[in-house]
Subunit: 273 residues, 2 copies
């Protein structure tokens, strides 16, 4: 059973006291982060914490606990759910409000969650995505704002896609919850603006550096459609090929050799984490 | 004491069952509306309901009750708080989710709230606002997304302002939660794009039509700064002069004669509602 820590108290998730009178609910004033353990250890813990703190600073919500205190809470929650690898969600909101707008004390919640498991064959077949003309508001911030994704998700079934690729003025930025890379020859290219700086993106860039020529720069939608390989990176997906964009097949329509190399490297890394 | 209706059950507000595992919290997937009663009757009820339904359609969250059922609930909550004039908030979210992303059953909450009371002299002195280069995401939708306002509010004190005027590419749109009008001679001018179509805006346009020349069109920040009078309209503010924008005094720095006419008209209307 999963537990959560909410403002100093641990309860099972279902019993956690909460109220809609929270600025996260009433005013969308909230941020989160999401990471997982491998072999019982939080993956890239320092990097996730750094990003979480940065989001909190941008939103100007003070984080009520330190990194070290939080690490201790994560350990307790990890033990409570049985010591199997799991995911953790941090949720930091403006807290309960008396007048629907003024902030007093933030609500900070740490939740253990089931892991996302890969669908069979997903990494070989890759995924198909739709394009959407949009750039996220405050993209460097891991806010809770996923309005556009939630609206678009209603169309995913009929379009035969599982995610959306945001682009604006001819340039791509990211999928709804993950970063995008393109591969051409020995070049590994990924946008450096209008994105959330993913921890898996950072990990993959480190793993690729010895053998790839890396370009962090604006990436057009057109070159994405014409790339030899395209893949996305996230905590749950690691390196996941994008083999279809709208009605266009990308590359061979299966995982490409360079994506396979990077997937193998991150799989090796997490196995021995 | 205020009560609320949540998915079919009325409780006092403090006891309402809720959980952070709601798409409104986790994904900012929520909308609201807000209106008040005068003489016990919801002001412009049909117009508020129409807007609420439109917001729900845009976000693709099905509203679980009809206008007539909702009117009945509002009456019950009105009686429970003692039959004095009050405000009502509708909150409609994507509902509780099993996987932090999939929608099942929306959460619809109707809450009675205390009225906002005018600060003494506020309508004569007017308010001062800061400008901010921004246009709301999906502005026609009364979503719960007020991130930018909540970030900026931290600066209001030191800047001596109480609200923010959004402008983009030289054109104004709205304050954070209310519409903006400018007056020049007999012309009443207000933006028609990138705004939430306020119910008080619509009411004021009706009240003004017999005696003003009305222009619904893009309005530049420059003409706003140079206007004879500027005011804002909202459910709580009715017609409230804007007498300062950043460091600039607008008009006489007090309520102008045309704003006073429109304030008097809406005050007359609500007195006899």
């Amino acid at each position: 059973m999963h537990h959560c820590w909410l403002n100093g108290k641990i309860t099972d998730v279902a019993s956690a006291p909460f109220h809609f009178n929270d600025l996260g609910v009433l005013r969308g004033y909230g941020l989160f982060d999401y990471f997982r353990t491998y072999n019982g250890r939080p993956f890239q813990w320092d990097w996730y914490w750094e990003r979480f703190e940065r989001s909190a600073r941008i939103l100007r919500i003070p984080c009520p606990v330190t990194q070290q205190e939080t690490r201790q809470i994560v350990s307790e929650l990890f033990a409570l759910q049985g010591g199997e690898d799991c995911a953790f969600r941090f949720l930091l909101t403006g807290g309960f409000t008396g007048d629907s707008i003024s902030m007093h004390t933030p609500n900070f919640i740490i939740i253990s969650e089931d892991l996302h498991h890969d669908a069979p064959g997903e990494h070989e077949k890759g995924i198909r995505v739709m394009t959407y003309d949009f750039v996220r508001d405050l993209p460097m911030l891991k806010s809770t704002d996923y309005k556009h994704l939630l609206i678009l998700r209603h169309e995913f079934g009929e379009r035969g896609v599982t995610d959306v690729l945001f682009h604006k003025d001819g340039y791509i930025s990211e999928l709804s919850r993950s970063n995008v890379f393109i591969v051409n020859g020995n070049k590994l290219i990924t946008p450096h603006e209008n994105i959330l700086e993913g921890i898996t993106r950072r990990t993959v860039l480190e793993l690729a550096r010895p053998d790839f020529e890396i370009e962090l720069r604006p990436v057009t939608l057109q070159e994405t459609l014409e790339a030899e390989e395209v893949f996305t990176t996230s905590t749950t997906k690691r390196v996941l090929p994008i083999t279809g964009i709208d009605d266009r097949v990308i590359g061979s329509g299966r995982i490409g050799p360079k994506s396979q190399i990077l997937l193998d490297r991150i799989n090796d890394l997490v196995r021995s984490w």
